[in-house]
Amino acid sequence: MLRNLLTVLSSLRITVSCLLLLFILVFWGTVYQVQHGLYLAQKHFFESFAFWIIRGIPFPGGQLVLWVLFLNLLCAVFTRFKFNRHKTGIALVHAGVFLFFISGFITFQLCQETHLTLAEGDGSNLSESNQDWELAVWKTGTQEKEVTAYDTEHLKRGYPLDFSEFGFRLVPQVYYPNADKTGSSLNSLKQEKEPERNLPGGLFSLPETGQTLLLHGGDDSPALIEIKEDQYAVSLRRKRLPLPFFLQLNDFRMEVHPGTAVARSYQSEVSVFSHGQPRTTVISMNEPLREKDFTFYQASYAIDPAGREISTLAVVKNAGRLLPYIATFVLVLGLAVHTLLVASRISAPEVTG
């Protein structure tokens, strides 16, 4: 029974169907981006298990197809595949594909992409999420800014958020992932094509004082509340992720090709303050900084209204970062071996005949 099941699952027809489906998905997802942007295409075609072509007619999504393909490959190893010398290349190629599956899964589940925007001279120990938001509270006027925060992703109406260390609770009344604030009213908006452009807004009641706070992602300064003679700041802001070190931007440099406005290179000179001595290093295009589990990339730059140069670094935390490199190596090695074997077989009769 198990043997039978494995045989069915390892069928080459499944392989071919899945590859064809993936081929169609990739094409469709590319064309879809023209209208709807990369983010939605990714959610709709590649990360989904299934989606509707038109209402009632489903089409398998990328994640489903990849899972089936993965199982198919796994089963084939146990049933169909018989190793011999001629199949060294084939075996390596499929091992490479297998590694790609694993690394894809790890990245999909664990990878965190955030960014860090610093003006020259500024530094921080927090990186900012591109699209996730948090409700953050801290006590003002203290030496150390200790923040307590909740992700806004799973906020539930009427379900209180506990800030007992400060002695109060906040109860979400209304929360819109993208909203427009005019005066003291909030209007829900359609979500943007690029999710980083959404500005959420919400109403939060404070049972301890009977106040209701209107918070919006576009607010300049946090809302201030007074509880027992202490002042607290409440802010709806992009989610912050603490880094295990402190990073300061010393200098940003941009070079252009002579006589043009085309950039030749961007460089950020930063100091990393871990325990002990600071370390100064340069992050440039194609040359990131790797520190602990984090990697910092030169992403973009700007000039603020006062003329200071501002550098944006993309911050990526990915435990499976090395896997695709290994997978690439194995896959390409396999292909090369196989191509050579095939080539030798094709030209062999010519040599002898």
Binding site: F23, E113, A263
Partner: protein
Amino acid sequence: MSRRRLFLWLGAAALLLFTGTAAHGGSTPFSVEAMKGLLILEHGRVKPLETYSNNLLLQFSGKRSFHGEPALSWMAKLLFDPAKTGTDAVFLINHPDIPRAIGLEPAPERRHRYSFSELEKGYPKLRELALSSSSIEPKERTIVENELIRVHENLVLYMNLSASLRFTERNRDFSIPRADIRQLMGLPDGRLEFSFLELALNAHRLRKVSDSLLNKSPEQWSDFEREAFRLMGALYQWSLQYRDLPFKILPPMKPGREDWTSPWDAIASDFYRPEVRNDLVQLARMRFGYLNGQNEEFADASRQLTSSVRGRSLRFRGARFSPVELLYNRVNPFSWARILYAAALLFLLSGLGLSREKRYALASVSAGAALLLHTFGLACRITILGRPPVSNLYETFIFVSWIAALLGLLLEATHRKGLGIAVASAAGVLLMTISGKFGAEGDTMRMLVAVLNSNFWLSTHVVAITTGYAGCCVAGILGHIYLIQAIFKPREKAPLEKTHKMMLASLMFGLLFSALGTALGGIWADQSWGRFWGWDPKENGALMIVLWCGIILHSRLAGLIRQVGTAAACVFGGIVVMWAWFGINLLGVGLHSYGFTSGIAASCGIYAGIELLFLLAAVPAAQKTLAR
């Protein structure tokens, strides 16, 4: 550089200006060849004036020549005798609404090309329209708005270039009726009008006079002093007027600087340097030689200027390798390679009344020569740019056709039945013809933006992926050949088998490099953006090629397709490659493409349609004949 020699030249030039006539003279045709090696900085790259002229005329008129004359000749006219270019119809306007909007009749009979004197009347209107178009976000602009901006830029560039050497022209502002001032300035008698440069070279003498006037009230000035003061003012006015012109032909004087300057800017900042003065005098001599048809004078001044500038700018790659670029321009390797590939194909396919052996020999020789020229051209580009030749679509076409031709001839080396030559020359002709379309954008040797500016990744990822394209293209061509063989010569099993094997080998080759290129692309993306894969259109295109190869191989294994099916799938693979290679780029530009790009989008569609029709007809036919 001794001062005395300088004055000698100037004196000689002035003397000749006096005796000469302001028209082309002499019986031997005048040649501007000598100035083709002058160096100029444009778009961040130092290049010979010949290349600059070709690109400029292409940018203005869509062609590299004007009335059968090379671009360099027209450039010389624009620089030395700008008034004569006023009626040259060199400005191509791609949209009939634009001439109408500025009060001109559209001129399809002149293939939509207009002269400066025509456009000049409508210039204020054109400027206004272009400025309002520029304020629109680039992505939101319509075809007409883009074209308006382009035409306006061209017109401004033309006007700026025509003023680039005005300091060598005689002008009424510098007419000196007083003999005592001419004497003071060391200018020859018998002529009243002089150029800016003639006065500027001895401006210190004027200055001495005008400085002494500071303590005198104007009523007390003598006529002599008044005249000297007027001339000094005219010089000052002129030196302010022509700043930041695009004709950057003089290298930076300060060490470590990379910005070249136009002669006018050099007058403003570096006029005290003898080498700069010398350069300017040579330019004046060139103009004099040009206007008076004195070939030797022109050639000598050009040579002196070229060697002096090049000697000072050898730290620029473009200056170091300018002889290579001139050779490349002269040989024009890719055009000849294309013709030779076409010849090889012709010898293989048509009888021409020659014996089979002769035809094969001729085809091999022309294909071999084509590949040699092709290789030479690529080597030139690598030398000139100092990077792998794969940084824009034009270059990838040249590179892919080279790999395909190389692959074809390698296959030929193992089988010697003409099949490899056919593949090589077909790929050569086809891809190089398409490359011509992309080459019409203007300069194909541009500098790279920061993220692409990495020789390591260009030479690994991009080279690998384009090699993959080439492999799949060859497999596609062999797919065609297989299907045609199967329909017309189904009995000859051995050649069929051979084609099939070659096709599989090319497919494997294509898959190997596509997969390598795709994965390396992921690694590059991981290095520079922090993610290996992001479903970006270009990444998706590469993945589609790999997937398609995977589909073909697994379908064969599963017994879903056999030889005919494989051939058909390889033909379809050609469409997939086209999509990944440049179909996706068209998708991105989509709405705001103009001229040639929309033409390319249409021809892509036509190509895909024809291939599908071919498959629909050929596959059943091949199956029928083979089954018999």
